[in-house]
Symmetry: C2
Subunit: 349 residues, 2 copies
């Protein structure tokens, strides 16, 4: 059973500090909004669905100490909390998706006393968490149908339990196939600079008894040239209405080499990751990360002092390189601009 | 003026310990063949031309203490020394190229007293070193003609002064264009697992006042998508007669993404790197490196304990992805099977 990454415990968030893995499995108990903000920015919690959940729980942290029944002040605090949380990671749409959903829930009950709205917000946040668990399992089952017994999957970045409430998107597909009794093995890109593939995928897969081989990012093309890979499955931080997909830096590189080798390239993501307000990927903002993550990421300086670094956190893969998008509603085939709209569940609108 | 990487000092090798860069510029003084063997295996000296020179100097280390005039015993020692050195890095052809050239020189003077042969071997090794300096400068000048003023070059692994006697192959092209007064800038792939691009290229280029931006290997595709790159120039560890090129792992990946973006992909290498005995790249042996270089390369463990790793040191780029091969005899265009033979200097046969 995959690990529980993040959960709400009456008055605080309990979550795994993913920067400490795989050396130490440490849980953080977070009661304060700014502590959560730091945890999101520094990737103690990461993965688009998981930070969506963190955003929903963050709304609770930011508003739960409010007392009295001044609706104007309460809603102002709610807005401010949402804005603060949305700014902690600009690329992932799940954060703003979750905070917007919390605001909508509050607005629907605007006539209730503030105390009641606070209770309803807690219910909504727990619903988001519970839905993620259920959505990931549905997504996993749909995706598993794409995997034959004996398949070898290439992954990039972590999209397992640690990226969600407790199951995973792209890795959830692998878990699901494994649960169905299929033998599935994984090549995991280490995923520089922060090595989520090396640190997190190897740990999650070995915990489940699934065979995993770690490779450097630059080795994926060679491994495909050797015909070791049946398909690529990876996650998304934001998908535009036409299917263009922002995901961890290096995703676009994997897409290009998969195309060259005729290897199917699947994106696995819940509908909460799809931003129908953007017609294509050129409008997705791309975060840049600090140079030190590249030049001294792991306890040792690895470049000359003063080295200029370009470290975008994400890249955008054009829809035409994507074979299909695996969602909780099924496997969506191209053309994505049409088929994503058709498959979209009413609840995500 | 680029640094002197390796040189012969009367009775020993003086060379930079490249594993200590960029933190410390430490010179090793090596008098013993086994110490040299360890230095080659653990990449204290690396880069195809530089380890060719190390091989030639290694022959001196292995045979210089021989006394007496027993030709049979001397030539047996010479053979044994060459075999030992050839085995320290199986992929790079320059090692066996250099040791074979030393053996041929000894054989040409077989009738001389052993003492005289020892002197002639020292002359031959110094000639190999001096020729490398001259060859790299010629290669650099030929390659520089491909670079317009203002060009931006993507590099993978280190192919500068540190990979040769003192100037470089692919980076020698950049140095040469810079010396001609052209403004050239470089994006350097960090080159996992041993980070030669991050540690060595940034250091060499900044020493020369050439603008360099470090990127993770997985970012090269995104940088090309953004049209930041005019051409790729990188080195080779062994080139087959048809142009198929073994080079640092990740080279093939760069070749595929360069093709996708219409970016010219140049290999820069002296004729000593071309193995005319191999008709194509499938016959080139590929070294595998230790798992720990991937899982604990940065001074900290970065994958779950017991993680299985696949870490080939090299990959093979098919000739059809290579725009041209820059050599000391000029820029060789496809078809390489024909044109490499034509351009081949008599001295390299």
């Amino acid at each position: 059973m995959p690990v529980t990454t993040i959960e709400w415990c009456t008055d605080h968030i309990r979550m795994i500090d993913q920067t400490r893995l795989p050396d130490d499995l440490v849980h953080l108990e977070i009661k304060d909004l700014e502590v959560l903000g730091e945890a999101i920015t520094s990737l103690r919690v990461r993965g688009a669905p998981a930070i969506g959940i963190a955003g929903a729980f963050g709304i609770l942290l930011g508003t739960r100490m409010f007392t009295g029944d001044d609706h104007a002040r309460f809603f102002a605090l709610l807005e401010k909390t949402a804005q603060y949380l949305n700014g902690t990671r600009p690329t992932a749409v799940n954060l703003s998706w979750a905070t917007r959903r919390m605001l909508l829930a509050a607005n629907r009950h605007r006539s209730e006393p503030v105390r009641k709205i606070q209770e309803l917000l807690e219910e909504e946040a727990l619903r988001i968490w519970e839905e993620d668990r259920e959505i990931c399992r549905r997504l996993g089952r749909h995706g598993a149908e794409l995997l034959r017994d004996g398949a070898t999957v290439l992954t990039h970045c972590n999209t397992g339990a640690l990226a969600t409430a407790d199951y995973g998107t792209a890795l959830g597909v692998v878990f699901s196939a494994h649960e169905q009794g299929k033998k599935v093995s994984v090549y995991a890109d280490e995923t520089r600079p922060l090595l989520q593939g090396a640190r997190l995928n190897t740990w999650e897969l070995m915990n489940e008894g699934i065979e995993v081989t770690l490779i450097c990012d630059n080795t994926a093309a060679f491994v495909m040239q050797q015909k070791r890979i049946d398909c690529v499955i990876l996650g998304a931080d934001r998908i535009a209405a036409n299917g263009d997909t922002a995901n961890k830096i290096g995703t676009y590189s994997v897409a290009v080499i998969a195309e060259k080798h005729g290897v199917p390239f699947y994106v696995a993501a819940p509908f909460s990751t799809i931003d129908f307000s953007l017609s294509n990927g050129s409008q997705i903002p791309i975060e840049e990360r600090a140079a030190e993550e590249v030049t001294e990421g792991f306890g040792r300086r690895t470049a000359a002092p003063g080295t200029k670094v370009y470290s975008p956190a994400f890249d955008v893969t054009p829809a035409d390189l994507i074979t299909a998008i695996i969602t909780e509603e099924g496997v969506v085939q191209p053309p994505f601009d049409l088929n994503l709209k058709t498959a979209r569940p009413a609840s995500s609108e």
